[in-house]
Subunit: 229 residues, 2 copies
Amino acid sequence: MTPYYEENTKHYIAVDCIIFGFDEGELKILLHKRNFEPEKGKWSLIGGFLQDNESIDFAARRILQQYSGLSNLFMEQLYTFGEVERDPGERVISVTFYALIRIEEYNNQLKRETSAQWWPISRKPTLIFDHDKMVVKALERLKIRAKNQPIGFELLPRKFSVPRLQSLYEAIYQRNLDKRNFRKKILSMNLLQKLEEKDKGVSKKGAFLYQFDKRKYSKLVEKGFHFEL
Amino acid sequence: MTPYYEENTKHYIAVDCIIFGFDEGELKILLHKRNFEPEKGKWSLIGGFLQDNESIDFAARRILQQYSGLSNLFMEQLYTFGEVERDPGERVISVTFYALIRIEEYNNQLKRETSAQWWPISRKPTLIFDHDKMVVKALERLKIRAKNQPIGFELLPRKFSVPRLQSLYEAIYQRNLDKRNFRKKILSMNLLQKLEEKDKGVSKKGAFLYQFDKRKYSKLVEKGFHFEL
DNA sequence: CCAAAAGTGTTGACCGTACACCCATGA
DNA sequence: TCATGGGTGTACGGTCAACACTTTTGG
């Protein structure tokens, strides 16, 4: 079109997603086996190429939908990796996103690519290219966000008990929390709606279930409230 | 090379930089007049296109060097903007960086592109494309970083007084700080080395100059210290 | 009846914030 | 001598962290 642009070179752009889930008290990520060269058969993040006529955000949602079968996932752009030799096949710039999935919804969902598999963060295989770096960056961001925004709820079932929420935060921060202090703090925010039901799956006594009240949160934010855990 | 890559399309990639300076008690950004169509003659961030054989970081440093005449600036990748129609000329993905400059070093430096001009943030012109959004994002990031990392010193002369440092933080946070509390906190970190000299430029009494001790900071960080202001 | 998880309050330490006066000096 | 900015200490309130026992119930 305009000559000025044409003096420059174009590049492939990939979108890679770090997809987190929480299950059995552990943080997990969804990986898949790469099905083309180079590094075919190795474990990789979930990704794809940016197409014409789609924004980067759209591409990320498309890829997430395709691999998880779920839409409207929590998702945030992370960082763009642009080393010249990061992909030995061709020069590819990768824009990364991290996303949060409720694993039980994923398990109930069948319409999806099936070569993907959940791996506990602590025991995941080595990944191709610079994907391990991407995971490190995603974990850093997840820690920060979990502290300042109520995103933990995106990883738990809609109904959850306080002890379950606490174990999620323990998995994210990689340290134990005091249960009295934790409960005091989270309940004092008035963001959790107590239900009559109990979760009897973990203990004999059973723990009361709660729901995150998104509307209440939005209203508080408008008034200057700042989530912090 | 591999057929798989070739099924996908390539894109122009731009690097745009939000360059901050601090002068006369105000935060400023460096802008320049765009010299090609579309939007020729309008104010724009400083940027350029990613070339073959350079990493994105390298491209950002190249562009910063070209427009400021300075190298080794503090610089951090911010966000990647990828809406389809963000640049009406051609589809261009923009990877943004923000950078911090000591304005007095910039002023002493002559070997540079000269169409650039400093604008106070509060009175800057409307920028082309989505560049105003980029500035907003850079300001958000700057606030967070200034709080958690000792980056303020990148915007001040090597030797500075405590009141000057305070006024920088006031400009970044957009609110007034208590001078006793500010001084107490910053000095209690033991990161500032007091000099014998005074800055007589602002007050008649003169304010003692300090230097940021980068080595001390690195050592403290190794021991788990976390900067916070 | 006992093992295992749920649930509950208090205290001391520390940190953030608010606040007012004297000092040094150039004009 | 006076206007201007530099420099100093204390007290209060709120938040964070540490800590131990009782309750419930399935097996």
